[in-house]
């Protein structure tokens, strides 16, 4: 393929990334962040899979079999098992505004500058070769696709131009904002997109090889079994196999936690701690997917290129090219390209922050002349230093690639980088779980581990490149056989990487542990140790608590902030902070909380160590003991807890009061209703009682009453007694409805039958009064569910009311019944005296006498209608009346056929 075409494709791909990143930045400016999405977060973690994964997994599988998996098992274990560690690191970094692993370690051990420098150097030691490795992959893949020989002249080397583009991209999306705590939304989105692309590309080649070139997995394995060369891929060497799997997995675990680029995406770019939950399953899934086809491709490559000496690192490209499938080869190239560029961009941003904050800034701040420059326009200076760092790092990677990596495989460079990064493990893990860990201990551990690393891994590589004599390998350092790089203290039986991992961590941990026990912490170290280890206990109080004491002028602190954040932004931030914490900033000396907060803001920009320097340069500080710090933190915690509790309590009380009030209202209401009912009932009872008493007294006192009159009085007494007992029965009945004691017996009822029965039982009475009863009843009405006695009670009540109010000897009562709209309708119509409008509603009410009301409802209806209404309600039905005075009344009720009792 023409190298210009492939060069253009690479440029187009980068342009595409530019657009993705640019759009994401634009969206985030419009407050529509794409990055605040757990999927993007989980995908961005897959920056772990570099070109080393994309090309190197196959390469490693073809020499070491399944061993390549260790690199992916480690991170998967982190996600499942080391989740609390990850969460703790994220929480600490957020509360302390830490922006890199260097910041993290130096901040933990008393904001120590030299530690920051040391960590930065270690990151450079791991990062530069790693970047070189990516460039090598790009270059190799480019070479294979275009079938060109690599040119040592930089100006005609295409990789050089890609490097320039990468520098531009990284500067553009990595240094837009000087505040490193501000997230790089464009960059993260681009990385997530790259993760998808490399997965698709690897899947494409995997499916092509497995299902198009061969007949599935089984076919490949069957064919491979026939080959001597491939057989060893299935066997794990028992001798060193187990220990190697253990050490390599452990190594990958630590690399995943502490590699600068991983720290960047997992911790610094984390928007929400909750996203880790998503990453917990999504990232391991990604790991599984990207590894599914490694073995098939490896075996297929072995079968296809048997004995032709084709570089197994490049099988994924060589196979499609071998079968002249150029399109797939290009897709694979893009996949590898995206894996490589993703790594370079994130790693460079992460390391450049460290380099500029920990190496360049402190140096600049130390030089009087440059200090002035910084004071004049600090954010420009910082931006410049970031950009300088980015350029330097990528170029260093490029030169490393150009002049050193030629001689080493992708895997060995990668693993060497892993081992040095693993040196952070004791100081970081010790730092977040062990308060006793000291700065000197951490320093000793880091230095010791790195020295051992240099001795066990770098010296041998220098030997093999011919830079130094191989004497040291065979006879040991200074001729001491215990000091052979690959057999330190006579240890054999391990592969070089496991061997190095074991000894570096052994020395590192021992030095850290004993170094910490032998040295004392300064007060600031002590404070930070407590804040780190007990972060979950204090994280909410940290911002508001004073862990600093001293004197600083408000104006000094403000101008310090202004120079880095700009006047308007500073003004805003300060105002918000002052209001939130109720601090008066119009004083001469700054409130300690404000100084503390400012330092944290600054450390987000220039790193912990530099921020510490700046603040101490304007403040007269006093030492503050740990006891005081803990006391203060505890107080603020307690205060917050108490506040929260109080708030909650008062909320509860308010709610309770409201409930109480409502209940009281309800009670008052019920009370009033009860009162009304009672006075109604007593009134109703007293009325017949009055007649009975008065007439009895009259009869008793007057023996001379005429016989007919006496009969009339006695008859009245009997009637009034009946009325009284009826009333008492009704009250009891109604009480049963009210208290819910009433039992409705559900059965299939025929409405016509009920009407006939009720008419039968009052027919005699009607005849006596000379009132006719007419029935117009639909014979085809369906049965309905209800309580026979109760419906009968309603009918009788309506009929007896009608009889009572209809004029004797000429009145007519008409009953109609029919089905309509899924309900049964019954009307009882009389041509009696009628009911005036105001009473029409009142008559269904058991309280005809609302409070203080003295207008009486038409007499005689008693509580019958109120009871009828309740019976119908229990059948989901309704009852109502239409009436005109002097013309008669029409009482109607309806029962839905599908009533649920």
């Amino acid at each position: 393929m023409n190298s210009y075409v492939l060069g253009l494709i690479s440029i187009y791909y980068l342009a595409f990334l530019f657009i993705v990143a640019y759009q994401a930045e634009k969206k985030s400016k419009n407050a529509k962040s794409i990055v605040s999405n757990p999927n993007i977060y989980a995908l961005s973690l897959a920056v772990y899979c570099t070109a080393w994964t994309f090309y190197g997994s196959v390469g490693r599988a073809s020499t070491d079999g399944l061993d390549f998996l260790t690199v992916y098992i480690g991170p998967t274990l982190v996600m499942f098992l080391a989740f609390p560690i990850l969460l703790k690191i994220v929480r600490i970094s957020k509360t302390q505004r830490l922006t890199s692993i260097a910041d993290f370690i130096s901040s933990r051990y008393g904001k120590n500058r030299s530690l920051g420098v040391l960590v930065t150097i270690i990151c450079l030691l791991s990062g530069i070769p790693y970047i070189a490795l990516q460039l090598k992959a790009i270059s190799n893949s480019f070479g294979i696709l275009t079938r060109s020989i690599l040119n040592s002249n930089i100006l005609v080397d295409h990789t050089f131009y890609i490097v320039i583009l990468l520098i531009l991209f990284t500067i553009l999306f990595g240094t837009r904002n000087v505040e490193a705590t501000e997230r790089h939304e464009g960059m993260v989105t681009a990385i997530a997109v790259e993760s998808i692309i490399k997965l698709i590309a690897f899947f494409a080649i995997g499916i092509y090889v497995t299902f198009l070139l061969f007949d599935g997995f089984e076919d490949i394995y069957d064919k491979a079994k026939l080959m001597e060369e491939a057989r060893k891929n299935f066997v794990v060497d028992k001798e060193i196999g187990m220990s190697m799997w253990f050490w390599h997995t452990l190594l990958a675990t630590m690399a995943f936690l502490f590699l600068p680029r991983q720290f960047q995406v997992t911790v610094v770019e984390n928007v929400d701690e909750k996203y880790i939950n998503r990453a917990m399953w999504m990232f391991p899934l990604y790991m599984v997917l990207i590894n599914i086809f490694v073995m098939p491709i490896t075996l297929a490559g072995g079968i296809i290129f048997n004995g032709q000496g084709v570089n197994s690192d490049m099988f994924v490209l060589s196979i499609p090219l071998h079968f002249s499938n150029e399109l797939l080869a290009i897709l694979t190239y893009i996949g590898g390209f995206s894996a490589a560029t993703g790594m370079i961009i994130v790693e460079t941003i992460a390391v450049s922050v460290m380099v500029s904050n920990n190496l360049l800034m402190p140096i600049f701040l130390g030089i009087p002349a440059s200090k002035e420059l910084i004071n004049r326009n600090p954010s420009k200076v910082i931006q410049f230093m970031r950009r300088l760092s980015i350029t330097l790092i990528i170029f260093l990677g490029y030169f490393y690639f150009k002049f050193i990596t030629e001689k080493y495989s992708l895997v060995s460079i990668g693993m060497t980088a892993f081992v040095v990064v693993a040196q952070f493990a004791p100081s970081v893990l010790g730092g977040i779980f062990w308060k006793r860990g000291t700065q000197k201990g951490a320093m000793a551990g880091l230095v010791g581990g790195t020295v051992i690393w240099f001795f066990t891994l770098i010296i041998p590589s220098l030997v093999s490149s011919g830079a130094i004599s191989d004497q040291i390998m065979t006879n040991g350092l200074f001729g001491n056989s215990l000091l052979k790089p690959y057999e330190l203290f006579g240890m054999t039986g391990m592969d070089n990487i496991s061997h190095a991992t074991f000894w570096t961590l052994f020395f590192n941990t021992a030095l850290y542990f004993f170094g910490s026990l032998c040295t004392k912490q300064t007060s600031i170290e002590h404070n930070q140790a407590v804040l780190f280890v007990d972060v979950f206990q204090y994280s909410k109080g940290i911002e508001n608590s004073v862990v600093w004491r001293g004197k600083a002028l408000v104006s000094d602190i403000k101008s310090l902030l202004e120079s880095f954040l700009g006047a308007s932004r500073t003004e805003r931030i300060v105002k918000v902070f002052a209001t939130r914490n109720n601090i008066n900033l119009n004083t001469r000396y700054a409130d300690a909380r404000f100084v503390n907060y400012s330092e944290k803001l600054l450390s987000g920009i220039v790193g912990t160590a530099s921020a510490r320097m700046m603040v101490s340069s304007v403040a007269k500080e006093e030492e503050i003991s740990l006891n005081e710090v803990v006391e203060i933190l505890k107080k603020s915690q307690e205060l917050m807890a108490v506040n929260k509790e109080l708030k909650q309590k008062s909320q509860e009380l308010k709610l309770l009061t409201e409930q109480l009030q409502a209940a009281n209202e309800q009670l008052k209401m019920t009370d009033k209703l009860k009162d009304d009912f009672l006075s109604t009932v007593t009134h109703e009872i007293r009325t017949p009682l009055t007649s009975i008493k008065a007439l009895s007294e009259i009869l008793y006192d007057n023996d001379d009453i005429e016989h007919s009159e006496r009969q009339h009085f006695l008859n009245t007494i009997i009637k009034e007694s009946d009325r009284l007992s009826r009333l008492i029965n009704q009250v009891l009945d109604l009480e049963k409805f009210e208290s819910g004691k009433i039992r409705i017996i559900k059965e299939d009822l025929n409405l016509e039958e009920i009407i006939n029965d009720s008419v039968d039982s009052i027919e005699q009475l009607a005849k006596e009064k000379g009132i006719a009863i007419k029935q117009i009843i639909d014979k085809k009405m369906p049965t309905f569910q209800g309580d026979r006695d109760r419906i009968m009670q309603v009918m009788l009540n309506l009929l007896s009311n009608a009889l009572k109010f209809t004029e004797p000897d000429k009145g007519i009562i008409t009953i109609t019944a029919y089905e309509e709209d899924g309900s049964l309708h019954v009307n009882v119509i009389d041509d009696g005296s009628g009911i005036a409008k105001p009473y029409q509603e009142l008559i269904f009410d058991k309280f005809y006498q609302a409070h203080d009301q003295t207008i009486k409802k038409p007499k005689g209806s008693g509580l019958g209608l109120a009871i009828s209404k309740r019976i119908l309600e229990l059948h989901n039905g309704t009852i109502g009346v239409e009436s005109e005075v002097g013309k008669g009344s029409k009482f109607s009720f309806e029962i839905p056929l599908e009533n649920t009792l």
Partner: protein, 129 residues
């Protein structure tokens, strides 16, 4: 017994059986008895007959007893009329309200016929009860 010959008594109640007993009692004492079944009927009789004593129920349809009492005590030619409330409302507040609208006597139902007769007789002869 028939001393009160020319004294007019109006009985206002919506309960026919109570009217029955009251009418008997008053007639027996020799009063000239008028009957009204609600407040409106009462107004007509009061305007027309100017009874000396009105036995008045409170809870009635259309116009209640308080209204009737206020009418009596508010009219220049009727304010001398004695008003006796006969009511089943027997709470202290009810009685107080009865007197506050101008009643001369408040007798809760059910009442003692002998007691009632005695009090009405005293009232008819000008004794303040």
């Amino acid at each position: 017994m028939n001393i009160q010959k020319n004294i007019k008594v109006l009985i206002v109640d919506d309960e026919p059986n109570i009217l029955l007993s009251l009418e008997f009692l008053m007639k027996k004492e020799g009063f000239i008895v008028f009957i009204a079944r609600d407040g409106e009927e009462a107004f007509d009789i009061i305007k027309r007959e100017h009874p000396k004593i009105v036995l008045l129920d409170i809870m009635m349809p259309k116009v209640d007893g308080y209204e009737v009492c206020r009418f009596i005590k508010g009219g220049s030619d009727t304010k001398e009329t004695k008003v006796v409330f006969l009511s089943a409302k027997s709470k202290e507040a009810d009685i107080e309200k009865g007197y506050s609208v101008g009643a001369d006597l408040y007798i809760p139902k059910p009442f003692s016929t002998r007691d009632l007769v005695k009090k009405i007789n005293m009232m008819a002869s000008g004794v303040v009860v």
